[in-house]
Assembly symmetry: C2
Homo-oligomer: 309 residues x 2
Protein backbone atom coordinates (compact mmCIF):
# COMPACT_ATOMS: atom_id res chain seq x y z
CA UNK A 1 0.00 0.00 0.00
CA UNK A 2 2.68 2.55 0.86
CA UNK A 3 4.40 1.51 -2.37
CA UNK A 4 1.31 2.43 -4.30
CA UNK A 5 0.99 5.64 -2.34
CA UNK A 6 4.54 6.50 -3.19
CA UNK A 7 3.98 6.05 -6.90
CA UNK A 8 0.91 8.22 -6.59
CA UNK A 9 2.96 10.94 -4.95
CA UNK A 10 5.57 10.75 -7.65
CA UNK A 11 2.99 11.14 -10.39
CA UNK A 12 1.06 13.80 -8.59
CA UNK A 13 1.19 17.43 -9.59
CA UNK A 14 1.15 18.39 -5.93
CA UNK A 15 4.58 19.89 -5.40
CA UNK A 16 4.36 20.21 -1.64
CA UNK A 17 7.07 18.13 -0.03
CA UNK A 18 6.62 15.80 2.94
CA UNK A 19 8.20 17.61 5.90
CA UNK A 20 9.95 15.71 8.72
CA UNK A 21 11.31 17.38 11.87
CA UNK A 22 13.97 15.75 14.03
CA UNK A 23 14.37 17.86 17.15
CA UNK A 24 16.55 17.25 20.17
CA UNK A 25 19.32 18.57 22.33
CA UNK A 26 22.94 18.92 21.25
CA UNK A 27 24.52 15.50 20.46
CA UNK A 28 21.21 13.63 20.82
CA UNK A 29 21.90 11.76 17.58
CA UNK A 30 19.90 13.96 15.17
CA UNK A 31 22.47 13.99 12.38
CA UNK A 32 23.09 10.22 12.55
CA UNK A 33 19.38 9.53 12.23
CA UNK A 34 18.65 12.06 9.50
CA UNK A 35 21.74 11.27 7.40
CA UNK A 36 20.60 7.65 7.02
CA UNK A 37 17.10 8.77 6.03
CA UNK A 38 18.41 11.20 3.43
CA UNK A 39 20.69 8.53 1.95
CA UNK A 40 17.89 5.96 1.80
CA UNK A 41 15.59 8.41 0.03
CA UNK A 42 18.36 9.49 -2.32
CA UNK A 43 19.80 12.94 -2.93
CA UNK A 44 17.43 13.72 -5.74
CA UNK A 45 14.35 13.16 -3.60
CA UNK A 46 15.37 14.35 -0.15
CA UNK A 47 16.58 17.73 1.06
CA UNK A 48 18.16 17.99 4.51
CA UNK A 49 18.67 21.16 6.46
CA UNK A 50 19.81 21.92 9.99
CA UNK A 51 18.01 24.81 11.66
CA UNK A 52 21.02 25.54 13.88
CA UNK A 53 22.05 27.52 10.82
CA UNK A 54 19.59 30.14 12.05
CA UNK A 55 21.94 31.10 14.91
CA UNK A 56 21.89 34.87 15.16
CA UNK A 57 25.42 35.34 16.60
CA UNK A 58 28.80 33.88 15.79
CA UNK A 59 30.97 32.24 18.44
CA UNK A 60 32.89 35.44 19.13
CA UNK A 61 29.74 37.55 19.59
CA UNK A 62 28.21 34.92 21.88
CA UNK A 63 30.99 35.43 24.43
CA UNK A 64 29.38 38.70 25.48
CA UNK A 65 25.82 37.37 25.65
CA UNK A 66 23.82 36.19 28.66
CA UNK A 67 22.39 33.16 26.84
CA UNK A 68 23.55 30.12 24.86
CA UNK A 69 22.66 29.10 21.27
CA UNK A 70 19.78 27.07 22.74
CA UNK A 71 17.88 30.25 23.57
CA UNK A 72 15.31 31.34 20.97
CA UNK A 73 16.67 34.91 21.28
CA UNK A 74 19.99 33.58 19.99
CA UNK A 75 18.28 32.43 16.79
CA UNK A 76 16.36 34.04 13.92
CA UNK A 77 13.18 32.17 14.90
CA UNK A 78 10.85 34.31 12.76
CA UNK A 79 13.06 33.71 9.73
CA UNK A 80 13.26 29.97 10.51
CA UNK A 81 9.45 29.89 10.59
CA UNK A 82 9.28 31.81 7.33
CA UNK A 83 11.76 29.50 5.60
CA UNK A 84 9.97 26.36 6.88
CA UNK A 85 6.72 27.71 5.48
CA UNK A 86 8.39 28.40 2.15
CA UNK A 87 9.87 24.89 1.98
CA UNK A 88 6.56 23.34 3.06
CA UNK A 89 4.89 25.08 0.13
CA UNK A 90 7.55 23.89 -2.30
CA UNK A 91 9.52 27.13 -2.60
CA UNK A 92 13.29 27.63 -2.50
CA UNK A 93 15.06 29.48 0.30
CA UNK A 94 18.41 31.21 0.70
CA UNK A 95 19.42 29.54 3.96
CA UNK A 96 21.94 31.08 6.35
CA UNK A 97 24.98 28.95 7.20
CA UNK A 98 26.54 28.50 10.65
CA UNK A 99 29.97 26.85 10.47
CA UNK A 100 30.33 24.51 13.43
CA UNK A 101 34.01 24.18 12.56
CA UNK A 102 34.90 27.70 13.64
CA UNK A 103 31.60 29.12 14.89
CA UNK A 104 31.33 31.70 12.10
CA UNK A 105 28.30 32.83 10.10
CA UNK A 106 29.11 32.24 6.44
CA UNK A 107 27.57 33.02 3.06
CA UNK A 108 24.04 31.66 2.69
CA UNK A 109 23.17 28.80 0.34
CA UNK A 110 20.28 28.06 -1.97
CA UNK A 111 18.04 25.19 -0.85
CA UNK A 112 15.35 23.81 -3.14
CA UNK A 113 12.93 21.40 -1.52
CA UNK A 114 12.86 17.83 -2.84
CA UNK A 115 9.97 15.44 -2.47
CA UNK A 116 10.98 15.02 1.18
CA UNK A 117 12.47 17.69 3.45
CA UNK A 118 14.28 16.59 6.61
CA UNK A 119 14.75 19.39 9.15
CA UNK A 120 16.92 18.65 12.15
CA UNK A 121 18.18 20.90 14.88
CA UNK A 122 17.77 22.29 18.36
CA UNK A 123 14.54 24.25 17.90
CA UNK A 124 12.50 23.12 14.86
CA UNK A 125 9.46 22.42 17.09
CA UNK A 126 9.83 25.51 19.26
CA UNK A 127 6.96 27.58 17.92
CA UNK A 128 3.43 26.84 16.88
CA UNK A 129 4.10 28.25 13.42
CA UNK A 130 7.16 26.06 12.89
CA UNK A 131 5.37 22.94 14.14
CA UNK A 132 2.52 23.59 11.71
CA UNK A 133 4.98 23.11 8.83
CA UNK A 134 5.66 19.43 9.54
CA UNK A 135 3.90 16.22 8.55
CA UNK A 136 5.93 14.10 10.99
CA UNK A 137 7.53 15.48 14.16
CA UNK A 138 10.23 13.44 15.91
CA UNK A 139 11.98 14.23 19.19
CA UNK A 140 15.20 12.45 20.12
CA UNK A 141 15.31 11.75 23.83
CA UNK A 142 18.40 9.76 24.89
CA UNK A 143 19.12 9.36 28.62
CA UNK A 144 21.09 12.39 29.75
CA UNK A 145 24.23 10.43 30.72
CA UNK A 146 24.42 8.90 27.23
CA UNK A 147 23.94 12.27 25.56
CA UNK A 148 26.78 13.73 27.67
CA UNK A 149 29.11 10.93 26.55
CA UNK A 150 28.16 11.53 22.91
CA UNK A 151 28.66 15.26 23.22
CA UNK A 152 32.09 14.95 24.83
CA UNK A 153 33.17 12.43 22.21
CA UNK A 154 32.01 14.59 19.29
CA UNK A 155 32.99 18.05 20.49
CA UNK A 156 36.49 17.05 21.61
CA UNK A 157 36.94 15.33 18.25
CA UNK A 158 35.40 17.33 15.41
CA UNK A 159 34.87 20.71 17.06
CA UNK A 160 38.20 21.20 18.85
CA UNK A 161 37.08 21.62 22.48
CA UNK A 162 38.53 19.97 25.61
CA UNK A 163 36.40 17.58 27.71
CA UNK A 164 36.36 20.13 30.57
CA UNK A 165 35.06 22.82 28.20
CA UNK A 166 32.30 20.51 26.97
CA UNK A 167 31.21 19.60 30.52
CA UNK A 168 31.20 23.26 31.59
CA UNK A 169 29.17 24.12 28.49
CA UNK A 170 26.65 21.35 29.27
CA UNK A 171 26.14 22.80 32.76
CA UNK A 172 25.82 26.31 31.38
CA UNK A 173 23.23 25.13 28.85
CA UNK A 174 21.15 23.04 31.26
CA UNK A 175 18.63 25.79 32.25
CA UNK A 176 17.99 26.56 28.57
CA UNK A 177 17.76 22.85 27.68
CA UNK A 178 15.05 22.59 30.29
CA UNK A 179 13.29 25.77 29.23
CA UNK A 180 13.43 25.48 25.42
CA UNK A 181 14.71 22.11 24.15
CA UNK A 182 12.96 19.50 26.29
CA UNK A 183 9.48 21.10 26.03
CA UNK A 184 9.57 20.19 22.33
CA UNK A 185 9.23 16.51 23.36
CA UNK A 186 5.59 17.22 24.18
CA UNK A 187 4.91 18.38 20.61
CA UNK A 188 6.41 15.34 18.86
CA UNK A 189 4.37 12.66 17.11
CA UNK A 190 7.19 10.18 17.77
CA UNK A 191 9.66 10.23 20.67
CA UNK A 192 12.76 8.14 20.03
CA UNK A 193 15.04 6.93 22.82
CA UNK A 194 18.21 4.91 22.28
CA UNK A 195 19.24 3.33 25.59
CA UNK A 196 20.20 0.02 27.21
CA UNK A 197 17.15 -2.06 28.21
CA UNK A 198 16.67 -1.60 31.99
CA UNK A 199 17.25 -4.77 34.02
CA UNK A 200 19.21 -6.62 31.29
CA UNK A 201 22.87 -7.40 31.71
CA UNK A 202 23.94 -7.37 28.05
CA UNK A 203 27.62 -7.91 27.20
CA UNK A 204 29.72 -4.90 26.14
CA UNK A 205 29.30 -4.09 22.48
CA UNK A 206 25.56 -4.83 22.49
CA UNK A 207 23.90 -2.05 20.46
CA UNK A 208 21.60 0.31 22.32
CA UNK A 209 17.95 -0.62 22.00
CA UNK A 210 15.43 1.86 20.62
CA UNK A 211 12.07 2.79 22.05
CA UNK A 212 9.66 4.72 19.82
CA UNK A 213 6.65 6.28 21.50
CA UNK A 214 3.99 6.55 18.80
CA UNK A 215 1.49 9.21 19.80
CA UNK A 216 -1.99 9.20 18.25
CA UNK A 217 -1.38 12.67 16.76
CA UNK A 218 -0.69 11.24 13.26
CA UNK A 219 -1.62 7.93 11.63
CA UNK A 220 1.09 5.30 12.17
CA UNK A 221 1.75 2.68 9.49
CA UNK A 222 0.69 -0.83 10.45
CA UNK A 223 4.12 -2.38 10.84
CA UNK A 224 2.65 -5.52 12.45
CA UNK A 225 1.02 -6.39 9.13
CA UNK A 226 4.42 -6.47 7.44
CA UNK A 227 6.32 -8.56 9.95
CA UNK A 228 5.59 -12.05 11.25
CA UNK A 229 5.34 -13.47 14.76
CA UNK A 230 8.92 -14.67 14.46
CA UNK A 231 10.08 -11.08 14.53
CA UNK A 232 9.05 -10.57 18.11
CA UNK A 233 12.60 -10.91 19.35
CA UNK A 234 13.63 -7.91 17.23
CA UNK A 235 10.57 -5.65 17.48
CA UNK A 236 7.40 -5.49 19.50
CA UNK A 237 4.69 -2.96 20.29
CA UNK A 238 3.35 -2.49 23.80
CA UNK A 239 0.63 -0.25 25.17
CA UNK A 240 2.03 1.90 27.95
CA UNK A 241 2.00 5.27 29.57
CA UNK A 242 4.23 8.17 28.70
CA UNK A 243 6.20 9.87 31.50
CA UNK A 244 3.39 12.44 31.66
CA UNK A 245 0.80 9.69 32.23
CA UNK A 246 -0.77 9.85 28.75
CA UNK A 247 -1.48 6.47 27.10
CA UNK A 248 0.82 5.68 24.21
CA UNK A 249 1.99 2.81 21.98
CA UNK A 250 5.63 2.00 22.64
CA UNK A 251 7.49 0.26 19.86
CA UNK A 252 10.57 -1.56 21.14
CA UNK A 253 13.51 -2.44 18.92
CA UNK A 254 15.88 -4.74 20.74
CA UNK A 255 19.60 -4.21 20.51
CA UNK A 256 20.17 -7.69 21.93
CA UNK A 257 18.23 -9.45 19.14
CA UNK A 258 20.44 -11.42 16.72
CA UNK A 259 21.44 -9.12 13.83
CA UNK A 260 20.17 -11.58 11.20
CA UNK A 261 16.67 -11.49 12.73
CA UNK A 262 16.68 -7.71 12.76
CA UNK A 263 17.77 -7.72 9.11
CA UNK A 264 14.78 -9.88 8.18
CA UNK A 265 12.42 -7.35 9.76
CA UNK A 266 14.25 -4.52 8.00
CA UNK A 267 13.84 -6.28 4.66
CA UNK A 268 10.17 -6.90 5.28
CA UNK A 269 9.54 -3.22 6.02
CA UNK A 270 11.67 -2.05 3.10
CA UNK A 271 9.92 -4.41 0.67
CA UNK A 272 6.60 -2.98 1.78
CA UNK A 273 7.89 0.48 0.89
CA UNK A 274 10.04 -0.03 -2.17
CA UNK A 275 9.04 -3.31 -3.74
CA UNK A 276 12.06 -5.39 -4.62
CA UNK A 277 14.81 -2.80 -4.50
CA UNK A 278 17.73 -3.85 -2.27
CA UNK A 279 17.88 -2.51 1.27
CA UNK A 280 20.05 0.65 1.38
CA UNK A 281 23.40 -0.51 2.71
CA UNK A 282 24.21 2.39 4.96
CA UNK A 283 20.99 2.41 6.98
CA UNK A 284 21.92 2.19 10.64
CA UNK A 285 25.44 3.49 10.08
CA UNK A 286 26.79 5.22 13.20
CA UNK A 287 30.18 5.97 11.68
CA UNK A 288 31.97 4.44 8.69
CA UNK A 289 31.95 0.66 9.28
CA UNK A 290 29.91 0.75 12.51
CA UNK A 291 26.28 -0.26 12.23
CA UNK A 292 23.34 -0.49 14.64
CA UNK A 293 20.30 -2.58 13.73
CA UNK A 294 18.03 -0.60 16.11
CA UNK A 295 19.09 2.63 14.34
CA UNK A 296 18.44 0.99 10.95
CA UNK A 297 15.01 -0.19 12.09
CA UNK A 298 14.16 3.22 13.51
CA UNK A 299 15.11 4.80 10.18
CA UNK A 300 12.94 2.30 8.31
CA UNK A 301 9.97 2.98 10.58
CA UNK A 302 10.38 6.70 9.95
CA UNK A 303 10.60 6.06 6.20
CA UNK A 304 7.33 4.12 6.46
CA UNK A 305 5.78 7.20 8.05
CA UNK A 306 7.10 9.50 5.34
CA UNK A 307 5.89 7.27 2.52
CA UNK A 308 2.43 7.06 4.08
CA UNK A 309 2.01 10.88 4.09
CA UNK B 1 -3.54 66.66 1.05
CA UNK B 2 -0.45 64.41 1.01
CA UNK B 3 0.16 65.60 4.58
CA UNK B 4 -3.24 64.31 5.61
CA UNK B 5 -2.68 61.11 3.70
CA UNK B 6 0.57 60.62 5.53
CA UNK B 7 -1.05 60.98 8.91
CA UNK B 8 -3.68 58.50 7.82
CA UNK B 9 -1.00 56.03 6.87
CA UNK B 10 0.72 56.44 10.18
CA UNK B 11 -2.47 55.77 12.11
CA UNK B 12 -3.57 52.95 9.86
CA UNK B 13 -3.37 49.32 10.88
CA UNK B 14 -2.29 48.46 7.35
CA UNK B 15 1.32 47.36 7.84
CA UNK B 16 2.20 47.07 4.17
CA UNK B 17 5.04 49.44 3.38
CA UNK B 18 5.24 51.75 0.38
CA UNK B 19 7.76 50.17 -1.98
CA UNK B 20 10.05 52.25 -4.21
CA UNK B 21 12.41 50.78 -6.82
CA UNK B 22 15.41 52.68 -8.15
CA UNK B 23 16.88 50.68 -11.00
CA UNK B 24 19.75 51.55 -13.28
CA UNK B 25 23.14 50.53 -14.54
CA UNK B 26 26.30 50.51 -12.49
CA UNK B 27 27.26 54.04 -11.32
CA UNK B 28 24.02 55.60 -12.62
CA UNK B 29 23.58 57.48 -9.32
CA UNK B 30 21.21 55.04 -7.56
CA UNK B 31 22.88 55.22 -4.15
CA UNK B 32 23.15 59.03 -4.19
CA UNK B 33 19.45 59.35 -4.94
CA UNK B 34 18.22 56.72 -2.50
CA UNK B 35 20.49 57.77 0.38
CA UNK B 36 18.94 61.26 0.35
CA UNK B 37 15.43 59.79 0.33
CA UNK B 38 16.17 57.47 3.23
CA UNK B 39 17.68 60.31 5.27
CA UNK B 40 14.72 62.60 4.57
CA UNK B 41 12.25 59.92 5.65
CA UNK B 42 14.32 59.07 8.71
CA UNK B 43 15.85 55.78 9.75
CA UNK B 44 12.85 54.75 11.78
CA UNK B 45 10.49 55.02 8.82
CA UNK B 46 12.55 53.99 5.82
CA UNK B 47 14.39 50.77 5.05
CA UNK B 48 16.90 50.72 2.19
CA UNK B 49 18.25 47.64 0.49
CA UNK B 50 20.41 47.04 -2.54
CA UNK B 51 19.44 44.02 -4.63
CA UNK B 52 23.02 43.63 -5.88
CA UNK B 53 23.33 41.70 -2.61
CA UNK B 54 21.57 38.87 -4.47
CA UNK B 55 24.71 38.19 -6.52
CA UNK B 56 25.12 34.43 -6.74
CA UNK B 57 28.91 34.31 -7.10
CA UNK B 58 31.77 36.08 -5.37
CA UNK B 59 34.43 37.96 -7.31
CA UNK B 60 36.76 34.97 -7.39
CA UNK B 61 34.10 32.59 -8.71
CA UNK B 62 33.03 35.08 -11.38
CA UNK B 63 36.46 34.88 -13.01
CA UNK B 64 35.53 31.50 -14.44
CA UNK B 65 32.06 32.48 -15.64
CA UNK B 66 30.91 33.51 -19.12
CA UNK B 67 28.74 36.37 -17.83
CA UNK B 68 29.00 39.47 -15.63
CA UNK B 69 27.02 40.34 -12.46
CA UNK B 70 24.51 42.12 -14.71
CA UNK B 71 23.24 38.79 -16.00
CA UNK B 72 20.15 37.41 -14.23
CA UNK B 73 21.89 34.00 -14.09
CA UNK B 74 24.55 35.62 -11.92
CA UNK B 75 21.90 36.54 -9.36
CA UNK B 76 19.41 34.72 -7.13
CA UNK B 77 16.47 36.28 -9.01
CA UNK B 78 13.83 33.90 -7.59
CA UNK B 79 15.04 34.66 -4.06
CA UNK B 80 15.08 38.41 -4.80
CA UNK B 81 11.47 38.13 -5.97
CA UNK B 82 10.56 36.16 -2.87
CA UNK B 83 12.21 38.67 -0.55
CA UNK B 84 10.58 41.63 -2.32
CA UNK B 85 7.20 39.97 -1.88
CA UNK B 86 7.91 39.38 1.80
CA UNK B 87 8.94 43.01 2.33
CA UNK B 88 5.94 44.26 0.34
CA UNK B 89 3.66 42.33 2.70
CA UNK B 90 5.39 43.73 5.77
CA UNK B 91 7.50 40.68 6.66
CA UNK B 92 11.18 40.56 7.64
CA UNK B 93 13.85 38.92 5.49
CA UNK B 94 17.32 37.53 6.08
CA UNK B 95 19.04 39.34 3.23
CA UNK B 96 22.28 38.08 1.67
CA UNK B 97 25.21 40.50 1.70
CA UNK B 98 27.65 41.15 -1.17
CA UNK B 99 30.71 43.12 -0.03
CA UNK B 100 31.66 45.54 -2.82
CA UNK B 101 34.88 46.21 -0.91
CA UNK B 102 36.39 42.80 -1.65
CA UNK B 103 33.74 41.09 -3.77
CA UNK B 104 32.93 38.44 -1.15
CA UNK B 105 29.58 37.01 -0.08
CA UNK B 106 29.26 37.61 3.65
CA UNK B 107 26.90 36.64 6.46
CA UNK B 108 23.29 37.65 5.78
CA UNK B 109 21.53 40.38 7.76
CA UNK B 110 18.03 40.80 9.13
CA UNK B 111 15.94 43.47 7.39
CA UNK B 112 12.59 44.53 8.80
CA UNK B 113 10.52 46.74 6.52
CA UNK B 114 9.74 50.25 7.74
CA UNK B 115 6.86 52.36 6.52
CA UNK B 116 8.80 52.91 3.29
CA UNK B 117 11.14 50.45 1.58
CA UNK B 118 13.66 51.76 -0.95
CA UNK B 119 15.10 49.08 -3.21
CA UNK B 120 17.96 50.06 -5.47
CA UNK B 121 20.16 47.98 -7.71
CA UNK B 122 20.89 46.60 -11.14
CA UNK B 123 17.86 44.35 -11.60
CA UNK B 124 14.95 45.22 -9.28
CA UNK B 125 12.62 45.68 -12.28
CA UNK B 126 13.89 42.67 -14.23
CA UNK B 127 10.98 40.30 -13.73
CA UNK B 128 7.23 40.69 -13.77
CA UNK B 129 7.01 39.30 -10.24
CA UNK B 130 9.58 41.76 -8.87
CA UNK B 131 7.91 44.72 -10.64
CA UNK B 132 4.57 43.76 -9.10
CA UNK B 133 6.05 44.41 -5.64
CA UNK B 134 6.55 48.15 -6.18
CA UNK B 135 4.29 51.17 -5.75
CA UNK B 136 6.71 53.49 -7.54
CA UNK B 137 9.27 52.34 -10.12
CA UNK B 138 12.15 54.65 -11.05
CA UNK B 139 14.83 54.09 -13.69
CA UNK B 140 18.00 56.19 -13.67
CA UNK B 141 19.08 56.97 -17.21
CA UNK B 142 22.13 59.25 -17.37
CA UNK B 143 23.83 59.79 -20.75
CA UNK B 144 26.33 56.97 -21.23
CA UNK B 145 29.41 59.25 -21.28
CA UNK B 146 28.46 60.72 -17.90
CA UNK B 147 27.86 57.30 -16.40
CA UNK B 148 31.30 56.15 -17.60
CA UNK B 149 32.93 59.14 -15.88
CA UNK B 150 31.05 58.41 -12.67
CA UNK B 151 31.98 54.74 -12.79
CA UNK B 152 35.68 55.40 -13.33
CA UNK B 153 35.72 57.96 -10.56
CA UNK B 154 33.98 55.64 -8.06
CA UNK B 155 35.60 52.31 -8.89
CA UNK B 156 39.16 53.66 -8.97
CA UNK B 157 38.45 55.36 -5.66
CA UNK B 158 36.37 53.18 -3.36
CA UNK B 159 36.69 49.80 -5.04
CA UNK B 160 40.39 49.64 -5.80
CA UNK B 161 40.41 49.19 -9.61
CA UNK B 162 42.51 51.01 -12.23
CA UNK B 163 40.83 53.21 -14.88
CA UNK B 164 41.85 50.71 -17.59
CA UNK B 165 40.20 47.88 -15.66
CA UNK B 166 36.99 49.90 -15.30
CA UNK B 167 36.88 50.76 -19.02
CA UNK B 168 37.53 47.14 -20.00
CA UNK B 169 34.80 46.03 -17.60
CA UNK B 170 32.35 48.56 -19.09
CA UNK B 171 33.00 47.12 -22.56
CA UNK B 172 32.65 43.57 -21.29
CA UNK B 173 29.34 44.47 -19.63
CA UNK B 174 27.84 46.37 -22.56
CA UNK B 175 25.98 43.43 -24.17
CA UNK B 176 24.41 42.54 -20.83
CA UNK B 177 23.59 46.19 -20.07
CA UNK B 178 21.72 46.24 -23.35
CA UNK B 179 20.03 42.88 -22.79
CA UNK B 180 19.07 43.12 -19.11
CA UNK B 181 19.60 46.56 -17.57
CA UNK B 182 18.28 49.05 -20.14
CA UNK B 183 15.05 47.12 -20.87
CA UNK B 184 13.99 47.98 -17.31
CA UNK B 185 13.60 51.61 -18.43
CA UNK B 186 10.42 50.58 -20.24
CA UNK B 187 8.89 49.31 -17.01
CA UNK B 188 9.52 52.44 -14.93
CA UNK B 189 6.82 54.89 -13.86
CA UNK B 190 9.45 57.63 -13.71
CA UNK B 191 12.63 57.87 -15.80
CA UNK B 192 15.21 60.25 -14.32
CA UNK B 193 18.06 61.70 -16.35
CA UNK B 194 20.74 64.01 -14.96
CA UNK B 195 22.49 65.74 -17.86
CA UNK B 196 23.54 69.15 -19.16
CA UNK B 197 20.72 70.93 -21.03
CA UNK B 198 21.38 70.51 -24.77
CA UNK B 199 22.23 73.77 -26.56
CA UNK B 200 23.12 75.75 -23.44
CA UNK B 201 26.63 76.89 -22.74
CA UNK B 202 26.64 76.88 -18.96
CA UNK B 203 29.84 77.75 -17.08
CA UNK B 204 31.84 74.96 -15.46
CA UNK B 205 30.45 74.00 -12.04
CA UNK B 206 26.84 74.40 -13.14
CA UNK B 207 24.95 71.44 -11.66
CA UNK B 208 23.51 68.91 -14.08
CA UNK B 209 19.85 69.48 -14.84
CA UNK B 210 17.30 66.76 -14.20
CA UNK B 211 14.59 65.53 -16.50
CA UNK B 212 11.86 63.33 -15.04
CA UNK B 213 9.61 61.51 -17.48
CA UNK B 214 6.32 60.96 -15.65
CA UNK B 215 4.48 58.08 -17.28
CA UNK B 216 0.74 57.74 -16.81
CA UNK B 217 1.23 54.31 -15.17
CA UNK B 218 0.75 55.73 -11.64
CA UNK B 219 -0.91 58.91 -10.37
CA UNK B 220 1.57 61.79 -10.13
CA UNK B 221 1.17 64.41 -7.39
CA UNK B 222 0.08 67.81 -8.65
CA UNK B 223 3.31 69.68 -8.08
CA UNK B 224 2.08 72.68 -10.06
CA UNK B 225 -0.52 73.33 -7.34
CA UNK B 226 2.24 73.72 -4.76
CA UNK B 227 4.54 76.04 -6.66
CA UNK B 228 3.85 79.46 -8.14
CA UNK B 229 4.46 80.89 -11.60
CA UNK B 230 7.66 82.47 -10.32
CA UNK B 231 9.19 79.02 -10.01
CA UNK B 232 9.25 78.44 -13.73
CA UNK B 233 12.96 79.15 -13.90
CA UNK B 234 13.65 76.23 -11.55
CA UNK B 235 11.03 73.70 -12.63
CA UNK B 236 8.60 73.26 -15.47
CA UNK B 237 6.48 70.51 -16.97
CA UNK B 238 6.24 69.99 -20.71
CA UNK B 239 4.26 67.52 -22.77
CA UNK B 240 6.59 65.58 -25.01
CA UNK B 241 7.37 62.24 -26.54
CA UNK B 242 9.53 59.55 -25.04
CA UNK B 243 12.36 58.10 -27.16
CA UNK B 244 9.98 55.27 -28.10
CA UNK B 245 7.40 57.78 -29.39
CA UNK B 246 4.93 57.42 -26.52
CA UNK B 247 3.46 60.67 -25.15
CA UNK B 248 4.76 61.62 -21.73
CA UNK B 249 4.96 64.53 -19.30
CA UNK B 250 8.54 65.70 -18.91
CA UNK B 251 9.36 67.58 -15.74
CA UNK B 252 12.48 69.70 -16.12
CA UNK B 253 14.58 70.80 -13.16
CA UNK B 254 17.11 73.38 -14.24
CA UNK B 255 20.65 73.18 -12.95
CA UNK B 256 21.25 76.73 -14.20
CA UNK B 257 18.44 78.24 -12.09
CA UNK B 258 19.65 80.37 -9.15
CA UNK B 259 20.01 78.13 -6.07
CA UNK B 260 17.81 80.43 -3.95
CA UNK B 261 14.93 80.01 -6.41
CA UNK B 262 15.31 76.24 -6.39
CA UNK B 263 15.33 76.29 -2.58
CA UNK B 264 11.99 78.15 -2.56
CA UNK B 265 10.44 75.43 -4.73
CA UNK B 266 11.97 72.75 -2.48
CA UNK B 267 10.46 74.41 0.59
CA UNK B 268 7.06 74.68 -1.08
CA UNK B 269 7.05 70.97 -1.92
CA UNK B 270 8.36 69.95 1.50
CA UNK B 271 5.75 72.09 3.28
CA UNK B 272 3.06 70.35 1.31
CA UNK B 273 4.38 67.03 2.57
CA UNK B 274 5.52 67.66 6.09
CA UNK B 275 3.77 70.84 7.29
CA UNK B 276 6.20 73.16 9.00
CA UNK B 277 9.12 70.85 9.67
CA UNK B 278 12.42 72.25 8.35
CA UNK B 279 13.72 70.99 5.00
CA UNK B 280 16.14 68.05 5.55
CA UNK B 281 19.60 69.56 5.24
CA UNK B 282 21.30 66.81 3.32
CA UNK B 283 18.79 66.51 0.47
CA UNK B 284 20.69 66.85 -2.79
CA UNK B 285 24.02 65.91 -1.22
CA UNK B 286 26.35 64.37 -3.80
CA UNK B 287 29.23 63.94 -1.40
CA UNK B 288 29.93 65.58 1.97
CA UNK B 289 29.72 69.35 1.37
CA UNK B 290 28.69 69.11 -2.31
CA UNK B 291 25.06 69.77 -3.08
CA UNK B 292 22.93 69.74 -6.22
CA UNK B 293 19.57 71.52 -6.25
CA UNK B 294 18.26 69.37 -9.16
CA UNK B 295 19.08 66.23 -7.13
CA UNK B 296 17.34 67.72 -4.07
CA UNK B 297 14.27 68.61 -6.17
CA UNK B 298 14.21 65.14 -7.73
CA UNK B 299 14.31 63.61 -4.26
CA UNK B 300 11.47 65.86 -3.10
CA UNK B 301 9.36 64.93 -6.12
CA UNK B 302 9.92 61.25 -5.36
CA UNK B 303 9.01 61.85 -1.70
CA UNK B 304 5.79 63.48 -2.91
CA UNK B 305 5.06 60.29 -4.85
CA UNK B 306 5.77 58.09 -1.85
CA UNK B 307 3.59 60.15 0.48
CA UNK B 308 0.72 60.05 -2.00
CA UNK B 309 0.68 56.23 -2.09
Amino acid sequence: MPDKLMRMRRASSDRRPVMLAIAGDSAAGKTTLSRGLARALGEGRATSICVDDYHRYDREERKGLPFTPLHPDGNYIAIMEQHLQLLATGQPILKPVYEHRDGSLARPELVEPGEFVIVEGLLPLHSKLSRACFDVKVYLDPPEEIRREWKISRDTGKRGYTAEQVLAELDRREPESEAFIRPQRGHADIVVRFAPVPGRDDPPGTPLSAELLLRPTIPHPDIAAQIGDDDLRAVHVKLGRDSDGRPVDALHVHGHAPAEESRLVEKAIWNGLQGNEPLPERLGELEPGVRSEPVALTQLLLLAHLFAM
